[in-house]
Symmetry: C2
Subunit: 270 residues, 2 copies
């Protein structure tokens, strides 16, 4: 057995704390899709205290695109509720650093940028409800093919809060007509990770002119006998936060999520 | 038909905007239990901007006792999402004003106290899930008898946020053993109005020495063949906010809730 195989198997069997340690030590740099199955992965947004109240309010008003898993006080790096002992400034494989809304760097640690002024937000990500869809027997070609989900900027406005406003971004999955109701049901159990779809059917009704041409991510075909189903997307809060051009904003790098100790089933309301 | 009867009938048939107008004009002063059936009533907490981020964070961390329905920006009086056109400073029948944690007044309007510094929080109240329990055929003697629900200060600590911390306060309802599962199910649909119970059964497990002696409200008998079931209570955020002794805090007067335009069913996640 080659060393590479051993490392690969070790990674695929690793739990959240072990994976976070590998990311922290720089021993592993890869997208987190497929890692730590059954555990909740989260989007990270770190903002100066000045913007934090408005952003928290924005999330409260727009729970579907901005489902809060945890908010960590200014200056602290440990998400005590979702990953005790973790360090948000070092435990992700790759970060993005934005200065006044412009991408400035993509480092593997932001420990040197952390200050008493930074408030961290962990937001639910689609992996959790996609697990529920797959569990309900609904095929997700983009997951099978290791591609990115198709995302669209809609004509639906989020509810503004202070300096934050902007359009709702959605992800689209093609669901067979006879599985649409089940898709609504199984994802409704998980309101803290985007939850129920925001729209089923006609893309034009939410301002999408061509469902085969996503604004972000990879195109997905909507086949004969399938309906396009749209869920609020975690790209929304990042896009909205960026538009406010805070002096400093830190996020995860797309696909390189924060892995929590929470289980997907912990997120279910019923 | 006497004038009194006419007014009484008018009140019992009035919708939320009409009731708010009667409260605003001082034409009606009464507890809101039983009014505008089917519509969501809310707890009100108004705090200075200085405390608002920590309180919003406290609510986010403690969604069962502090289910946010709407947060209104500093200085604004209109809850645009839950009651467009309403005025939070005048549309409740009775308010409480606290200065540094001490009750200072119980006026029928706080318009003169409103300032650019005050942030308003509307929090879900138990009336919504009690409607769901009654709809599921579970009798609630305190509702039938027009008495207050039995409330207890538990040994369970809330998750602190900034200056806010304190014990969880729960309300108790006696549920027949064969209806306990149904009670959990029907209230789970409403996470934004306290949702599922926090505890079923042994009161001692959450630090309640004698279930016949509530800390607040009226005693309720737990009969033969019944289990005490405990829900997180909206008194929790008020008690916690008061402990922080903000210079000024405004709340509704107990039982005199804010009546929103939202329907109870709008609160259901599934």
């Amino acid at each position: 057995m080659s060393t590479a195989t051993t490392v690969r198997e070790q990674v695929l069997q690793a739990g959240p704390p072990e994976l976070r340690r590998l990311f922290r030590e720089g021993a592993l740099v890869r997208p987190t899709s497929g890692l730590a199955p059954g555990y909740v992965q989260a989007n990270l947004v770190v903002l100066p205290r000045e913007q934090a109240f408005d952003f928290l309010l924005f999330c409260q008003r727009n729970p579907r695109p901005c489902p809060l898993i945890e908010v960590v006080e200014a200056g602290a790096v440990e998400p005590a509720a979702s990953a005790p002992g973790a360090d948000l400034s070092r435990d992700l494989a790759k970060y993005r650093v934005y200065e006044r809304g412009e991408l400035a760097a993509e480092p593997d640690s932001v420990a040197d940028l952390w200050s008493e002024d930074m408030v961290s937000f962990l937001l639910g990500c689609s992996f959790t409800f996609e697990d529920a869809l797959i569990g309900a027997g609904i095929r997700l070609p983009h997951v099978e093919q290791g591609r990115n989900v198709a995302m669209f900027i809609t004509s639906v406005e989020t509810t503004p809060a202070g300096v934050f406003s902007g359009p709702l971004v959605v992800s689209m999955r093609a669901v067979p007509h006879d599985r649409v109701v089940r898709a609504v049901q199984v994802t409704s159990r998980f309101p803290s990770v985007h939850g129920a779809p925001v729209h089923v059917g006609d893309p034009g009704a939410i301002g999408i002119p061509d469902v085969s041409k996503p604004d972000l991510g990879d195109p997905v075909e909507v086949g004969e006998g399938e309906a396009p189903v749209f869920w609020a997307c975690g790209v929304t809060p990042q896009a909205v936060a960026m538009r406010s051009k805070p002096p400093l904003m830190i996020t995860h790098s797309p696909g390189y999520m924060f892995i929590t100790d929470l289980r997907n089933e912990d997120m279910a309301v019923i």
